[in-house]
């Protein structure tokens, strides 16, 4: 009797083994770049690695990277915070409308904005220009969470601060700003991470950072040790940002506990400042939205190379759809077991599986691509130059995105749903297919759309990994612009902007509504 029971039973019951195995695939994928750096360092040996690391050029790159990331992040924080305060806490006329427009610069990918600016004049192709242009393109990443957070903060704190004899500015810094730190910090970290990873925009603006240098080394010499060591520096640079983000994530959860219904803050009267503030908004929008749109329109209609690449538009659209579509599908598939593990099970493996992609999220596309090229050629040479390598790169880069969108819908499911399915005599996998999957389908749909958009706009890894002959909208913008054929690049860039409008608008609305 007991023997038969032992035969049917297992020691560790609820470890749903298929899910654990399924989660191992994305975890392995995500670790690949680290493996690459490790192998290359080992190959170089301590001396070689040392010599390669401490070259004068690397110091210059380090300075450039830090200045750029610091500059763009600070400027984006200034833009984002002031815009958010004006539309949420002042009586600025037309602020309901401005609130939405202020999020729209996200429709223009950074490298498209850089293309627009550098096509005006080469005077923007330097560090100062890059900082301004990228800050204009990225400030909504700060503005949107801060605006939502401003709506959520209880104005009671400010009232108390004022009643205790602090002036409006002291109140802003001592009572309001600390409450905004999680949102502000999250946004700033995102901008910083993007700057460490940005390649296309910086190449167009002729600013040398680690990413552009790695790409160049890769183009010049297929398997350069310089690129590997620069990748290592870049990863090390990303670590503090990643740690900060994880800490912030933890803190934010606590801050949300016990949220009462906050009273709406009384808008601050701008008075004589109304006109200057409005002018400021006009200038900001003119620079962040006006310039890219006007230049795109201009190059669509005029210029020496108008009509050059028209016959390539359709193949590029096809390439974009193929890569982004299959990439989004593949990445969602990878993300489901990770999210299920994280939501439903506790324990080291689940925590690791969930966190790892977020940790690697800071990795620039160029490093991921480099690692995949290196490993593909050595381990699976037949896969090199196929779509599978691109899919792997997309999965590594966009897993966190898929995880966070899926997580929201999986968390909505009642806890007991799987247990009930099993108590009714169905095996775990059967329960997953018949109960869980149908219920998270809408979440998966949203995740797919979001990821397709991001993948369509991805340049670096696509450029390095796409099979020969496969073009996408992003790679076409890149190749024409590198050759100075601005008009030829325009239709591709315009298409990229157009496909972004609807998703960005929905995203902006949703972020802003979080405040209500």
């Amino acid at each position: 009797m007991i023997a038969s029971a032992i035969r049917t039973g297992r020691r560790n019951p609820l470890r749903q083994s298929w899910m654990v195995w399924a989660a191992l695939i994305p975890v392995t994928l995500v670790v690949l770049p680290v493996i690459y750096i490790f192998i290359r360092t080992a190959q170089l040996g301590a001396h070689g690695a040392w010599a390669e690391l401490f070259r004068a050029r690397n110091l210059e790159l380090l300075l450039n990277t830090l200045i750029l990331a610091g500059g763009v992040t600070s400027l984006a924080v200034v833009f984002g915070l002031s815009v958010a305060w004006c539309v949420e806490r002042s009586n600025l006329p037309g602020r309901n409308w401005l609130r939405v427009v202020a999020g729209l610069p996200l429709v223009v990918p950074a490298f498209v904005a850089s293309y627009a600016w550098s096509s005006i004049d080469s005077m923007f192709q330097n560090m100062a220009g890059a900082i301004l242009i990228l800050a204009l393109a990225k400030y909504p990443l700060v503005y949107l969470p801060v605006a939502a957070s401003l709506r959520n903060t209880d104005p009671g704190f400010e009232d108390v601060s004022r009643s205790l004899g602090k002036g409006p500015w002291r109140t802003f810094f001592s009572a309001l700003l600390p409450q905004l730190i999680p949102a502000l910090g999250g946004g700033a970290l995102l901008v910083g991470t993007h700057m460490f990873a940005e390649f296309g925009a910086l190449a167009l603006l002729r600013v040398q950072t680690f990413t552009t240098a790695i790409f160049e080394s890769y183009e010049l010499q297929f398997n350069s040790s310089a690129a590997a060591m620069q990748s290592m520096v870049l990863i090390v640079l990303c670590i503090p940002l990643i740690r900060a983000e994880i800490r912030l994530r933890g803190g934010r959860n606590v801050a949300r506990v016990g949220k009462g219904s906050a009273r709406q803050a009384q808008p601050v009267q701008l008075g004589v400042w109304t006109i200057p503030v409005l002018l400021g908004f006009i200038v900001l929008f003119a620079l962040a939205l006006g310039v890219p749109f006007v230049m795109l329109g201009y190059w669509l209609l005029t210029g020496a190379s108008v009509g050059v690449g028209y016959e390539k538009i359709w193949p590029a659209i096809q390439g974009t759809l193929t890569l982004a579509g299959s990439g989004a599908l593949f990445t969602s598939l990878m993300a489901i077991p990770l999210v299920m593990l994280a939501v439903r099970q506790r324990g080291l493996l689940a925590r690791l599986a969930e966190r790892l992609p977020y940790i690697v999220h800071g990795l620039p596309g160029v490093v991921v691509a480099l690692a995949l090229v290196f490993l593909a050629i050595r381990v699976v040479p037949f896969a090199y130059q196929t779509i599978f390598v691109v899919l792997a790169a997309y999965a590594i880069l966009f897993l966190p995105l898929a995880q966070s969108s899926l997580r929201a819908s999986i968390e909505l499911l009642p806890n007991n749903l799987e247990n009930i399915g099993r108590s009714l005599g169905k095996r775990p996998f059967h329960v997953f297919v018949t109960v869980i999957l149908p219920n998270i389908a809408p979440g998966i749909g949203a995740a797919l759309a979001l990821m397709m958009l991001e993948m369509a706009r991805e340049l670096t890894a696509t450029l390095m990994l796409a099979p020969t002959g496969t073009t996408t909208l992003a790679t076409q913008v890149w190749s024409y612009t590198s050759d100075g054929e601005f008009a030829a690049a325009a239709p591709f860039a315009a298409l990229l902007v157009v496909i972004s409008i609807l998703p960005v608008w929905i995203f902006t609305q949703r972020m802003l509504r979080q405040g209500n």
Binding site: M1, I2, A5, I6, T8, G9, R10, R11, N12, P13, L14, P414, N415, N416, L417, N419, I420, G421, R422, S423, L424, G425, K426, R427, T434, V435, P438, N439
Partner: protein, 341 residues
């Protein structure tokens, strides 16, 4: 034959020992209520029986078959149990019929069984509705129907009426019990509401801090609780010091006979327990002189506070026979009492 036996179950989560040696036995066709404050481990015990979590130590038998021990684990899908959680947790993407049919084997006469269950739960016309189109009570009924449909050997109900409002709760509770009795299903109900536990169960197990304090029929639990804790958990109680005397135990209320189940307490410093409705008020009868200091009308009963000697007692009386505020008279204890050292 199918009775449930639980022997010396231990379960820890990390360093916290949640269950510290649970023993329970349950006859086929009977209903056991697990009563205890939140955090006492009752839901954990239910999950171990269901097979959602493994046991650390001890064993669970369904009939002769070993379901769980430290080395054996039969997964929930092979235990033939029905589970009804607090929120019902109907599958939101399936209709009522779909939910009811989920646990039925493909080949069998599914349609007929679904129709049977629909009739059983009194929702014949709701088969094609989705869960969100049902009221809370209807959802709970479907959840019960879904658990009963595959004819389980044991149904586990985890505070199934918690989400419902008070009125509905009472009627649902009765409906569900009627249903369980009708189908002769063995069931375990977890609850923290003593009224619910008394109303539904054949056996009532009172749990506290990971241990079963007492397991007995509801009336025994109420009148003859094994300890002060059990007395407090199962309703209001009056405690007072007492000493052994001829024919019972002597306290400020006079000599009250002891239940035979009561372990004879040491004769000094015993604690006597009576229930607040165990009293009769009369003007000129044998009893302790008392004086009403407070009176609070509650409809079907009235709460009064009376002073006897230097003590103040809170009593519950039928509204018609409750004395007025300030009235003096005599108090008599009805029935027997419990006492512990």
């Amino acid at each position: 034959m199918s009775h449930i036996r639980i022997d010396n179950i231990h379960k820890s989560f990390g360093p916290v020992e949640v269950l510290k040696g649970i023993d329970l036995e349950l006859e086929q066709g009977s209903v056991l209520a697990l009563l205890g404050p939140s955090g006492c481990g009752k839901t954990t015990l239910l999950r171990l029986i269901a097979g959602f979590d493994p046991v650390d130590e001890g064993s669970i038998h369904f009939g002769q078959k070993l379901m769980a021990s430290s080395s054996v684990f039969v997964p929930p899908e092979r235990r033939r149990i029905g589970y009804v959680p607090q929120e019902g947790a109907l599958f939101p993407h399936l209709t009522v019929e779909g939910n009811l049919a989920y646990g039925l084997p493909k080949c069998a006469n599914r349609k007929q069984r679904v129709a049977e269950v629909l009739e059983l739960i009194g929702l014949q016309d709701f088969g094609h509705r989705y869960p969100h189109e049902l009221s809370g009570g209807q959802q709970q009924r479907v959840a019960l129907g879904r658990a009963l449909a595959p004819d389980p050997q044991l149904v586990l109900l985890d505070e199934p009426f918690n989400a419902l409002d008070l009125e509905l709760r009472r009627s649902m509770c009765e409906d569900v019990i009627a249903l369980l009795r009708k189908t002769g299903t063995t069931a375990i109900l977890v609850t923290h509401d003593p009224g619910e536990a008394f109303a539904v169960s054949d056996q009532l197990a009172v749990m506290m801090k990971g241990q079963i304090m007492q397991c007995a029929p509801p009336e025994t639990i109420y009148w003859q609780p094994a300890s002060e804790t059990v007395a407090r958990l199962t309703g209001d109680a009056i405690f007072m010091p007492g000493e052994c005397a001829e024919g019972g135990i002597r306290s400020a209320l006079g000599v009250i006979p002891l239940y035979s189940s009561c372990p004879v307490p040491s004769c000094h410093n015993a604690t006597v327990m009576v229930r607040p409705e165990q009293f009769q008020w009369c003007q000129n009868c044998k009893g302790v002189p008392a004086w009403v200091t407070r009176r609070s009308f509650r409809g079907d009963h009235t709460l009064i506070e009376v002073e006897i000697d230097d003590m103040c007692l809170s009593l519950r009386m039928p509204s018609l026979t409750t004395p007025q505020l300030g009235e003096s008279g005599h108090l008599r204890v009805l029935g027997k009492c419990m006492a512990w050292a």
